[in-house]
Structure formats: C-alpha cells, structure tokens
Amino acid sequence: MAGLEDLYKEIIIDHYRNPRNRGELDSPPAHKTEGFNPLCGDEVLLTFALKGEIIEELLISGQGCSISQASASMMSAAVQGKSIGEVRDLTRQFKAMMSIHEESIGADDPPPGDGHAFELGDLEALKGVVKFPVRIKCATLSWNTLLTGLDELEV
C-alpha cells in the first residue's frame, strides 16, 4: 500500500510552499495559455516569452493542490532556456514517468522534438504520484497546458 510519504516528498512540499516563477508576464507580447482540471477545479495560467525557439521566461499563476502547484513550479524551472523541441521532449519524458505514453502529444500532428533525454532532477520527486492514479491529472495539468500553448504557436 502506497503511503503519504510516497506522494508528498519534501521537495514537493517545498515547491508548494515556495513556488518558483509565480506571476504573469504582459501578454502580448508574452504568450498566454490556460488549463483546467475539471475534476477538482484546479486552474493554471501560463505566460511565456520566446526568444526565437527558446523559452526565455515562463511565469505561472492560478491555484490548485500541492501536487499541481509543485509540478508547475518545477516545470517552470525546468523549461526556462530550453528550445520548444527540448520542452516537447522533456514533457514526453515527464509524462512517461506518469505512465502516460504517447506516440504524439499535444496537437494532432506535432512537430517532432529533438529526441533529447534530460536529467529530471527535482521532477523525479513526482514519481510517487503514479501510485495515486487520481492525482496524475494534477501533476500533468501544467505540462498539458504548456503543450497546448506551444501547439497554438504552430498554427
């Protein structure tokens, strides 16, 4: 039986209590995208600025549970300075850790990532979420929202 300690690692609580990159960029010029978890009412609003293909800055607002907020906070730290292709790869890797395996993610026909494998670092702490299937949607909310935002750029 999975215990609470599998879910609520110290680093998750830290990101929940001290979320990184909170706020909103002016949009435009920044891109803005919103996500909802209809199950629990969590909401996430991402604003991000691109320099060419690189995510130069990404800020997060909205509200939600410790898992969704910690995951968003960790994501914000992980994607800054990465290219769109790298972010797609990282997202695929993160979702695979959440036992979500997809041939393609995001849009129907997304541009392929660059095929990088990243050190997940802090994000590894979210691995325990898999043992609590109801919470996987909390952990992936910000990631799916970012994918939607990136897909919108492509059209």
């Binding site: 609470l4 629990c40 009412g41 609590f132 909390c138």
Partner: protein, 409 residues
C-alpha cells in the same frame, strides 16, 4: 424515536478496513452505500425472475413486470405522488432534467421566454438549459445568494418577470441549504410558470410530499438513497407530463408505429423508451422499503442531530481555522458540510483523510457557478447519512489537524 444504533451492520461495505482503518464513509451526497436488502433484491431478480418487462406472457416475465411496477408504486407513495403513472424512470436526475428541458422546453420555450434557476444549482440543472437556450434563444436567469448561503428571494417578484419555468434545488449539494420550495412554487404559479425541483439531495433525507412542496416536476436519483446507480426518477403532475412530447424514441414508448408515424404510449411509458434497468428499479424499490421502515422523519431527525454535533465539534476544535459553508443552524440545512480548513487544498486534505480510511469528496461538486460565488476553486465535502454516527464525525475532526501540519502554508 431514533434510528437503530447498529444500522451500519446492514451495509456490508461499511464493515471493511481501508489503509488499516475501519472505513469512515462521508460521501453520501455523491453516492450512498447500499444495504443488504437492496443488493439481495437485485441479486434475487437475476437469479429467479430475469425477463424483459411489459412483453412476455410467460410467468417470470409477468413476475418481473409486477416487481417493476410495484417499485413504481412504492416510489409514488414515498414522495406523496397522487398516481404511480406519474413516476417516470430515467437513468439519473441528470437525465430527468434533460428530459424536462428537451421535451417541455423544446415545446414551450422561445426567444422571449425566461427560465429561472439559482446560483446554487448542480450542473444537471444548469447545462441542459444552457444547451437548449443556445438553440431557442430564451434567457436563463439566476437567483443570487445571501452571504449566509440562502437564496436571496428579496427580488423574486422582479426576477419572475417573463418566467415560464422555475427550476430550483430543494437542497444544495454544496451548502446543505434547504430552500423554501413551497414559497417559490406559489410565486411561480402566480405568474403562470411551472415549478421544477431538484430533489437529488432532498428526497433521500427528508419526508417528501410533492403536493405539499407545490412542485409540478421533481427530479431525483436512486443511488443517493440507498438504491443502485443507473436509475433515476422524474415525477411530474399527470397534466404536465401528458402535455409533454416524448423524449427518447423507440420500443416501449409507443402504442402504434406506422410508416407515416407513431402514436405515443400512455404515461409513464411514453417517456420510457427501450428496455428499462429492471434490476435497478427493483433495487430502488427495496431501498424505498428500507428507508420507509426507518421512517423519514427519524432519518431527518438523525441528520439534524448529527449535523449539529459535527458543526459544533469542528468549530469548537478549529475555530477561526475552519470555514463551513452554508447555514450555521442544523435545522435549516442537510448534512452536507463543505469545509475549508486553513489553506489546505481540498485535494490534499482528502488524500490525508483517505490514509485514515475517511472518504470525503474534494472538488467543485458539479456546481462551478456556486464555487465562483464562494470565491473558491474547490471544497472538501463531508456528507452524512443514516449509517453515520458520532464516531465518524470524531474521526473527521481528529484528522484535520495532521493535514494542516503537512500542508498549511
């Protein structure tokens, strides 16, 4: 009179342990547990009289039909309906509302009309109207709330201007508020509007009489009243139902079908297309017997007592740290306690409670407009029923503090 103290022993699910703790089930507003008699009634149907209804002339088909129609009669008695033919079986309360919107609304609503609902409705009594409104162009109008979680009826006369249908919950699934349905129904009728009532949280918990409520239509669901899932009820006054066109078409709902058209069946079959959920109907009939044997007045008194105990226990222990939405007086509300504890997110709170075998609902409870009014994204909701006792409330009260230690910001 009070409820038997060993009532839990009638509910086999409640004897199990979760994460090493005796289960504490506090989510009956979402779905109630089922007593042995309901499980046995459905089991018995499949083992002895399983056959399609209203068709075969052979013995078990006749027995199945008889059992189903007995259940219909029990439901009519349970809610004080003048006739069993006014009981229409649906899938759930949501389907009942969709039936009303599609059938009555499709026939009666146009661009200059208004349907009046409230800020505390469940999505089941919002979205069917929104879907229809997009087609028909009528206005969907909302009764606001007072700060203490009642309907604000101070402007009701003005709000009723041009209204053809008032559709209001008898009891909020988030706030627990009991609404003055009779008062609203009388005013609705005075402007020529019909009164539809969401009884999903009311019928399972209080003595119900549709005539005294002044309702024209009442929707409720079986699985919140000790019955199975997959079976709901639409009650309507015969005159109202008779004037409504069929909802779903197919078998059972016709008297005759020709190449050039069909003749609808009589009530209630006009609204019951296809083979019904027979076992579930019989199970719901057994649930009605079970609740009737307890006595709905005693059920209500038990819930007032336990709600009062819970409100006191939680506020005595946690004071300013806890907000319980809705009326503070147990006699004005049902046993639905939507809780904000410190700044612990409801999802995290319910996760900690789950580790102790305590089942509460975390989320928006299918009432997002209300959540926005309350200014919260979600609440943790503990809801009480016949099998709950003080020990369940104590377990909940004891378990909030540990969640706070982990998550309070």
């Amino acid at each position: 009179m009070s409820l038997p103290s060993d009532l839990k022993s009638n509910f086999p699910l409640l004897s199990q342990t979760i994460n090493g703790h005796q289960i504490v089930y506090l989510d009956s507003a979402a779905s109630s547990q089922k007593p042995d008699v309901v499980i046995e009634a459905m089991n018995n149907y499949y083992r002895t009289i399983n056959a399609n209804v209203h068709r075969g002339a052979y013995q078990i088909a006749a027995e199945a039909t008889e059992a189903m129609e007995q259940a219909r009669a029990k439901l009519a008695t349970f809610i004080g309906a003048p006739s069993a033919n006014e009981i229409v079986f649906t899938k759930n309360a949501t389907e009942s509302f969709n039936l009303i919107a599609r059938s009555w609304g499709g026939q009666n609503l146009g661009p200059n009309d208004v349907v009046l609902i409230s800020d505390m409705e469940h999505h089941a009594n919002i979205v069917p109207w929104q879907i229809l409104s997009a087609e028909k162009g009528f206005e969907l109008r909302w009764i606001p709330l007072t700060p203490d979680g009642h309907l604000d009826l101070s402007q009701l006369d003005r709000l009723l201007n041009g209204v053809k249908m008032v559709s209001i919950t008898a009891m909020s699934n988030v706030l627990g508020t009991l609404n003055p349905i009779r008062e609203i129904a009388d005013k609705a009728h005075s402007v020529g509007a019909l009164m539809a009532v969401d009884g999903s949280q009311y019928v399972p918990h209080l003595p119900t009489n549709v005539v005294e409520l002044g309702a024209d239509l009442l929707c409720f669901t079986g699985h919140k009243m000790c019955g199975p899932t997959g079976i709901g009820v639409l009650w309507g006054r015969a005159e109202v139902l008779d004037a409504m066109p069929p909802f779903l078409g197919g078998g059972e709902m016709i008297l005759d079908v020709r190449r050039d058209g069909f003749t609808p069946n009589e009530l209630p079959h006009k609204f019951e297309a296809g083979t019904p959920p027979i076992a579930e109907i019989i199970g719901l009939g057994a649930a009605v017997d079970f609740l009737s044997s307890l006595g709905m007045s005693d059920v209500r008194q038990h819930e007032i007592d336990l709600t009062d105990y819970a409100l006191r226990a939680l506020t005595d222990r946690y004071g300013e740290e806890i907000t319980i939405h809705g009326p503070s007086n147990a006699s004005e509300r049902g046993g639905v306690l939507s809780i904000q504890y410190r700044d612990v997110h409801p999802h995290d709170l319910s996760q900690v409670l789950d580790q102790r075998g305590i089942c509460v609902r975390a989320g928006h409870h299918c009432a997002k407009p209300l959540m926005r009014e309350l200014g919260v994204g979600a609440t943790a909701r503990a809801s009480l029923y016949v099998y709950n006792d003080k020990s369940d409330v104590d377990a909940l009260t004891e378990s909030l503090a540990p969640a706070g230690e982990l998550f309070a910001l």
